[in-house]
Subunit: 574 residues, 2 copies
């Protein structure tokens, strides 16, 4: 058997095992229409496979679900079964799962129901809430492949390691303590270093709102699953945009906290130990308040006692109150820095429209808008790229070599020279200087605001395009600067690409700011993008998770949702 | 002119310039007795050069000084002049200063006095408090050599850099905002990577309590100056023990906070950008409460707004209250983990006695003592050593090469192979796993305590010996594990080596735990060590500065001071 045959056989068997884990009763019998006939498989399309009760439960957000499950209105088993069913359908539609453990989930939910029946109180704030996990988290009973064929039947690539199928990541333990029900793990691109989700095991994870397009990456399986309401909330990871890109592409919410806020302990990773820019764990969900629920809940577990890299920062209600007072102030005195583009790549028309819409809505509510003109972003981008390439691609190659599988074309990592200690130190210094210059700029905006405070948050694109056409994810600069600077960022769904509203606009070739700018400009096709979600980032300072989550909730409730409803009736013009 | 002649000329000129900055009226006229005739130059010896008023001021701790200066009882100018005078004497006795700027200090103090006269209130909580700084901090008007001859007349080795003599480190700006008066910068060993303080510019910094011995390193100038009361408080840095070793050797207090607590922004460093183990900034002073004053004061400046690596952690009074409640509880319910040795090197008799004394005193006050048996310390030590050698010594060599000066024999860095990116990542993973195993061990001690809480703090040696005989600083394991684990540690003076009490104890050669253990055992000489300070560490979890400073204050007041007085009359036996 050749290497090629061997890894393909392993991959196919694993792919089949995932499908086989779906109970027969939940398999879609009729053929699924091709994307050309069924662009959007959310909403009514997926609802046809579900009972009204299942639809009610699965279309509730995490906050609403826990409002029912923690007081005994909904049983954990009923909710879990509804999400298992919907997740099973979701996987068949867009290919978003890596591990399925519905039986264990329903059994765990049963234990929660017994607990509630006996004690008349929930196990914790997430009692009975199904939570999905990107396939980097270790959960007992199932494996973690992270998309690598060579990781099948191993622990992070090591055969015979006793931790396989037994070890649990710190966050997983905490979620169990909180009463959450774990039921599936979601797809990732091999190596995690890609803006689309595809691997040699399950293939490509498609965008549920527009099946011609990508679900984004690297937490693309989470993004697609949650958009299909196959999960109310889940956890991804983000080192260059891997939570935010799929959140934006799938029309959901995602938080990239600063490093050291949520526990990464015991989570599989690419280039583990690279600590120039740390990958972070963060929640993804269908509402901003759900992100807050999950973040707050995890922090009640004092993760700093179990993860040496988490700072002792419990949820700070005082920060929450401060923001609420600003919101409730009359006149509401918030100031937003708006960055329509980063001087490197001009976003495509749907993203430009989304940015203008958000700006207009915020202005209408009386908020001050400041034109955000930070220090050059090309430095942030160069630092991120050099970081991702710092080991010359050796780590990802070693994991690919375990099976002999080829890399994916979407992978952002290529072979290069590895940096040595002095070069890494120099990169760390450049990164710190870059962070310092942005910090100083942020402080300096107090001169521009009527409040006298520096800007409260920045609003900017998540990517230069809506959910991307496969193969056209070319530019990570809109998300990776947040990682370089270690800021807090929440993605908020803003609109959908529209072939009617988002006409291509010719540009003078002399106006292109970069090669990527030119490429991304010419990539734009209003027909294929039609219906693709667009999400924008709301960015706070480092470790300002409380503030930025509260602002996200406010913007969702008072700015985006009324507008999104209006949009549907197309009364708002442009 | 040969290279050798050139650097020696530059070094001598700089050495002379430092001496020349001492006003003629403060020069010691008569010859200073050799160490054989004058072992201890603190106390009455140095007092002979000062007025009673100067003695009163300079022998007050930072808290007492600010209690006078912030209400107008003492003028900033008077206090500053007293400390300038005493620092000038101190330098002549033990060679502890790199930069002297008394005129600027007295002028700045004058401005503070004017402010107070005009506004009837202090500029800030450190109004009129002289604060010394290790010669890594940039202060306008003077240079920073960090002991490198090649840095003379440059900015961090770069000739013609406009920041020379103008740029100020973030902490320096914050100290000015708080009302502190900066007046001198203190000596360091070239490269900073040494447990003794010596360089080719000023020579050797001697221990004021025993002039045969070292002042420790790398913040040895701070340690010696503060021990001589030439400064009430100062700031050092610590990557392997550089605050704690000189604090212990000089009989003063020193805080090594966790990384990200106090601002390092804009401070010169060795191997800048090495971020496997981060060097940290911390205060050194003559009392635990002074460390608290300085830490708390700096945190009022919101350093996280100006230093991208500082976490948003203001001083947490709630943590302070929690500890105070434990202390005030009846019975007082604190539990200390005591580690008499680390299974690698058995401390010499004075340190063993100090540890037993502290343990006994704590037991007598009703505290529970748990035998601290953590995961192996040799792993922590290996991680620290590999970190310090990670660039193969290239950075320090490059700075030595600027002038052609030779390295010092005390330097812990040697030439080796530089690590590459994957090796550094692997080292970071080992470090994280090491931190995790210690965290789990710490949590597990809840099973050993009557309180049901994990151990409140650890007590262990700072070094295997009292202030060391020059050339015999062989082992950093007692301090560097704190850096590897990123814990919080305060050094508390415990006792003095005594030729009468600390007799050498023969050991079976089979009992030696390591080569260093054997060497350090045979190094011990009761005659030369007689009078050398011994300090122990009080260690808290990561970022528990509030807790550990409060405990240090408690231990100083109720455990150590009564005992230290008793010791003087030798009534306590052993």
């Amino acid at each position: 058997m050749t290497t090629d045959t061997r890894w393909k056989g392993l991959a196919r068997a694993k792919q089949q095992a995932i499908l086989d884990a779906i109970p027969a009763k939940w398999r879609i019998q009729e053929p699924i229409p091709p994307a050309a006939d069924l662009r959007d498989c959310t909403g009514t399309y997926i609802q046809q496979f579900l009972t009204p009760r299942e639809i009610e439960m699965t279309e509730s957000d995490a906050v609403s679900i826990t409002q029912h499950t923690t007081v005994g209105l909904w049983s954990a088993v009923d909710v879990t079964e509804a999400f298992c069913h919907r997740a099973a359908i979701a996987h068949q539609l867009v290919n978003c799962l890596h591990e399925i453990f519905f039986d264990e989930a329903i059994a765990a939910a049963g234990v929660l129901d017994q607990y509630f029946a006996q004690h008349k109180k929930p196990v914790g704030p997430l009692h009975g809430l199904p939570v999905s996990l990107k396939d980097q988290f270790h959960v007992r009973g199932v494996e973690t492949t992270m998309g690598y064929v060579g990781w099948i039947d191993t622990f992070e690539g090591v055969k015979g390691d006793a931790r396989a199928r037994t070890f649990e990541s710190e966050l997983v333990k905490e979620l169990r303590n909180l009463g959450a029900v774990l039921f599936c793990k979601t797809s990732v691109p091999t190596t995690l270093m890609a803006g689309e989700t595809a691997n040699n095991i399950i293939g490509y994870t498609w965008n549920p709102k527009n099946r011609h397009l990508s679900s984004g990456g690297s937490s693309g399986g989470e993004g697609a699953l949650i958009a299909l309401r196959g999960s109310p909330a889940g956890f991804g990871t983000d080192i260059g945009g891997s939570i935010r890109v799929p959140a934006a592409f799938n029309g959901i919410f995602g938080l990239r906290p600063s490093s050291g806020r949520l526990p990464y302990e015991g989570v599989a990773n690419s280039m583990d130990g690279q600590n120039i820019i740390l990958s972070v764990v963060g929640p993804m969900a269908t509402s901003a308040r759900s992100l807050k629920l999950l973040t707050k809940a995890v922090l009640t577990q004092s993760p700093w006692k179990y993860d040496p890299l988490v700072h002792e920062l419990p949820w700070r209600s005082s920060a929450e109150r401060t923001v609420q007072e600003l919101i409730d102030g009359d006149p509401c005195a918030l100031t937003f820095g708006v960055m329509h583009h980063d001087d490197i790549v001009l976003p495509q028309p749907p993203v430009r429209r989304a940015m203008h819409l958000i700006e207009r809505v915020l202005r209408r509510r009386g908020h001050q808008i400041v034109n955000w003109r930070p220090p050059p972003h090309d430095i942030c981008l160069a630092i991120a790229r050099q970081t991702f390439q710092s080991d010359g691609g050796e780590d990802v190659q070693a994991h690919l070599d375990l099976s002999g599988e080829p890399p994916l074309p979407q992978c952002l990592i290529s072979k290069s020279d590895s940096l040595n200690a002095r070069q890494i130190a120099a990169l760390n210094v450049r990164k710190r200087q870059c962070q310092k210059s942005h910090l100083d700029y942020w402080n300096s905006t107090s001169k521009l605001t009527s409040s006298g405070r520096p800007v409260d948050a920045i609003i900017c694109p998540t990517a230069p395009h809506a959910a991307v056409v496969p193969g056209q994810f070319r530019y990570i600069g809109y998300t990776s600067f947040v990682n370089t600077l270690d800021l807090t960022s929440v993605v908020i769904p803003a609109t959908y690409a529209s072939k009617l509203l988002d006409r291509p606009e010719p540009r003078d070739p002399a106006s292109f700011m970069s090669h990527e700018d030119m490429e991304i400009h010419s990539d734009y096709d209003p027909l294929i993008y039609d219906g693709a979600p667009v999400g924008v980032q709301l960015i706070g300072r480092r470790l300002e998770e409380e503030k930025i989550l509260c602002l996200a909730e406010y913007i969702q409730a008072f700015c985006v949702e009324p507008f999104m409803s209006a949009e549907k009736t197309q009364v708002w013009g442009c």
